[in-house]
Symmetry: D2
Subunit: 354 residues, 4 copies
């Protein structure tokens, strides 16, 4: 493949966020990547290693201002890492510019702005009206375990939310195998570390508020809800309602989701696990636990793995599907790189097995 | 009341456990209590303040060997704090001895040995055959918010489990008001701090295993399951199946339970909260949160409070009931003292509002 | 004493800070205290139990605006809990007003504004010029283990800093016994939990910055340095220079200080410990560890205790003096109450042995 | 170099320890390494990915029994990762066997057994008599920033202790530049995460003991003391006494050491930092902080970096040298790989810039 003869020229827009930091760490050691440009509105002109101290002595590239022409000209792929909503306008403009100039540039968007196919949901769950339905339609939902072939040919990839990645991956084999009770809804409970809240100071994310505490938040109203529902619907070919209840706990990285759904017939945990292994037989980043074992965050921290464990509760005919990911890796940056690998014809594990 | 003219003479059997440490802390400042004797098999002859370092300079009483006659003679009430199962035999003997000698001694058992009314459940959930059905029948389940009047007259009180206390209190008003869907089961998910595992070293509870991690355990098979089911059945006058899924998180004290159950009709969160406030109007240790607010462990740490928050999810017609307690206080030691207060005719808050 | 016939009427100025929260918790269960008024500039009109959620259902008193006349008229003692510097002006005014009106009110100031006898040090270490040298002169340094008799008669008590309390108490017996090498300086290293930084959001105190990290700060320039130097000088009758190096670690409450100083002759740890025990024989809140044992924060959390352990290192002829306190209790609120107890002729442990 | 034409065949003896886990993670992605064999006494026959769950799906190699002949025959380098003391005998035997058979195998020992040049110190600090003075003499102390050239030609490398690495690296430029006061001793205080205690369960390392606590231990008697003294003596050409005081804090990985020593003349922090930068100008893993900034563990976690910050305290003429490393990486496994890289003529950063 021609791309392998030279490096992929990569740009990162919004290089000062937590997930951008992880992204830069991964990209800086990716053997087919050359970092072409970084932009940051708040920290223009700073070295990446100053913004993200862990990158000191590793990455000396400086951030520049956001210049659309330069981005389109100098990059083969752009990771978009600005906050939700804020980025829609710029992204749409970039994408349009690329099309106009005939650029072969690809976009991987880490925000939520192009994840929901039904544009009207943005108003309801994110509070803004989506202004680019054309691009929304074009965007491929970047969950490689479900959409590998679409991602291969995609120009615009909407990188999934962290909770969504974790919940969807843990539930997909149930729904794909039509095991769920049709009347049932899905309860998804999630426990996330403090990195989920980003870097911006506010009262809720102070150490004094998190230490020795659990903080439930946005119960039933978290905007990853419709994203999970959208993908479960694709898998099951019917509408599925999700009650999503996240909380923050005193650790730094990673998350666990526990999802509960009624099944339509009696089964065993062993049988369910067999279906999971079959469903994910070609997915190098999915690890299915043995019966009686459950995923633990410590085993996925700093990796692109998603560990999944299942318990079938015969007393209530309910399946508990648990999954762990690192929210900044498989939940954001390393999944974005996995998408890049696929979109550029590389091995999907390239630069990600560390 | 005559008892108020003199101190209640208190004995603690099994004084070296974590919850015994909290119990001693509370009892040592309780104005109607005089600590009569402490026993410890593993740490006989040591000062309480050596076993529980936080009690240094506060409690100089030494533990003695376990001598039934002396216990019956010198105490008005005995707190039993030995491990589950181990304690059954001794307790039955003590109780029988008290009866034989006509002693007016009362027992408050912090273990699980007398919580389940159906003796056969012990074999299934705890792995031992219960050998004292008579005492089991006599034992009053010591959840003061539900059994105040029974506790008042009880000679033998089975102090509830920590998870059970938290889950039952958070669900009681729903069931008492017949709001639940009859076909539905209850999912209870719990997050507990490391003190839940006690003091004995084992691989699972090492700091290296807990830090930066979440550890799900005993999913669907935790022995507090039948205890919760027993009390929900009493409240709802029908069998209720519970799927209970606990996990350990990196903090020291306290727990959060989140319980999910389908309702039998549409309602609002505000209406549900009104019913909670009514149900607990005389319960000084229950605090009901406002709509949109959820309980946090940090507000109940070191107290006998149980904070409860509710969200009605209209999308799934499901109620989420969340509660926080300190597992060693309301989940063990301070609830035991609350039971003692009630059984001896004191104000139930005596010595517990700190 | 006449005061014991009725309650001490207590006011708290600046009732929304973290240490005010602890203060209110202690005062609300103190049997000789009646809370007369609370003021808060930022949260006027709110219930104490809303500002400090842990006090919900315990303290319903509402904060009012700051009205000097009312304070002077309605209180026997006022705890001043506003930030350093900000409070100086108001305090001076209050004190002057009290004097003018012949009020017998006492003041206990939790800020740093009256701790340093040499007014010029405020400019150097705190960055403001001290404007009330008369009141500064009158203020008694409220470390009860050293100044019990002065506190008894004091009208104005400057409650010590948290680090200072811990370091001074751990070093006092060495200096009082003239064991230190005269040429030597003292190194004090401290590890403090996140509550040391208060409640106001800023980048440094975000959970993401503290978790899985240690944050050294203000090395050699922390303003508790001159406070420690001042008291060590009083004890040793000569100038002592202190190099103070604090850091923040991922826990919530409490601190450990480790102080290092060369001795002027060879000695044993056992001998040093004997001198510590003698020095603190009448101090109910000081616990001296055995040889080979060191203080741990978990034993003092939520208490007014200061645990001290000492190691004499014969290889370097250096003494390591370690101490633990809870920064919000003995390092702030409970020490303030200890001072109140002494100043009002109560037992110094009154309301503090919990 | 010939070795680059084929992979380095690597063996790991004692593959179940925490640092072996990190070692395997690094080696499994090192492009010039082929893992030849793993041995484990306690977990023989298990896959690496079962012993170290984070390696699941990455490393399927199984551990075998310890067979000296096979090790000598199949490996170019052996990492020895068994506990201190236990390993001495086996190591000596292996090394002798290699010599006898004319094998070109190299050894990198992660234990303390060959770090101290003065064999008599083993009795004093580790409690065992060292039985192989010949091999001890031959062993090169594997701190690449000081002994690069010796390591290049070494057959037997004693990988430094974690605390020692951190303290020595932070002090070396001071001593190499003869800045220290000759009469002075060095105080080294260290704060380490819970991974420092390894995986074996014991009371001190239970989560309940570590959470919300700081645990000082082995004050003045920790066996890394003579190791630090040995290297400081080499640097300064005179005996230096060290008082070393470590403690454990509630985080998982990494450590901070703060070292204090008097200087022999007045200087500025800026001048000291200049000397540090010059001293480490060729050291790719040393990052020197700016004036007023201090190292933080979070920036070195999971890396081979050592971040160093310095404060010159003019008030006490004392230099504070602070350094952070990840105890399992630069303090053990990644430093061992850095040593391997150097000993096999690779770039020292090979496989370590992640």
């Amino acid at each position: 493949m021609s791309i392998l003869k030279k490096s992929i020229r990569v740009g990162v827009v919004g290089a000062s966020s937590l997930s951008a930091g992880v992204l830069l760490k991964i990209l800086s050691r990716h053997k087919y990547v050359s970092l072409a440009l970084l932009t940051s509105q708040t920290k223009t002109g700073q070295e990446a290693g100053e913004i993200h101290r862990a990158l000191g002595n590793i990455l000396r590239l400086k951030t520049t201002k956001y210049e659309p022409d330069k981005i389109i000209r100098d990059c083969d792929v752009v990771f978009l890492a600005k906050p939700h909503g804020e980025q829609l306008k710029g992204t749409s403009f970039l994408s349009a510019l690329a099309q106009k100039t005939g650029s072969a540039i690809k976009f991987i968007d880490l925000s939520a702005d192009f994840r929901l196919k039904d544009a009207s949901l943005y108003k309801e769950w994110y509070g803004f009206t989506h202004g680019d339905r054309a691009l929304l339609k074009k965007a491929v939902y970047g969950l490689p375990e479900l959409y590998f072939n679409k991602i291969k040919d995609a120009d615009f990839i909407a990188n999934p939310g962290c909770y969504s990645t974790c919940a969807i991956l843990s539930l997909a084999p149930i729904l794909a195998n039509k095991l769920e009770d049709k009347s049932a809804t899905v309860v998804v409970e999630a426990i996330c570390g403090v990195s989920g809240a980003g870097r911006r100071p506010n009262e809720r994310n102070m150490a004094i508020e998190v230490q020795e505490n659990i903080k439930p938040y946005k119960i039933g109203i978290h905007p990853h809800t419709p994203e999970i529902e959208q993908e479960l619907a694709v898998l099951s070919h019917r509408k599925i309602k999700v009650l999503f209840a996240p909380c923050v706990a005193p650790f730094k990285y990673g998350m666990l989701t526990s999802s509960y759904l009624k099944l339509n017939k009696r089964i065993t945990t062993a049988d369910i696990l067999k279906k999971y292994r079959a469903f994910y037989k070609d997915a190098p980043f999915i690890r299915i636990m043995k019966e009686g074992e459950y995923p633990e965050i410590q085993n996925v921290t700093g990796t692109n793995f998603c560990d999944i464990g299942v318990h079938y509760n015969s007393r209530t005919n309910t399946c508990v599907a648990m999954a762990c990911i690192d929210n900044l890796f498989k939940g954001a940056a390393s999944q974005a790189v996995q998408n890049m690998n696929i979109a550029f014809g590389l091995k999907q594990t390239e630069g990600l097995l560390f």
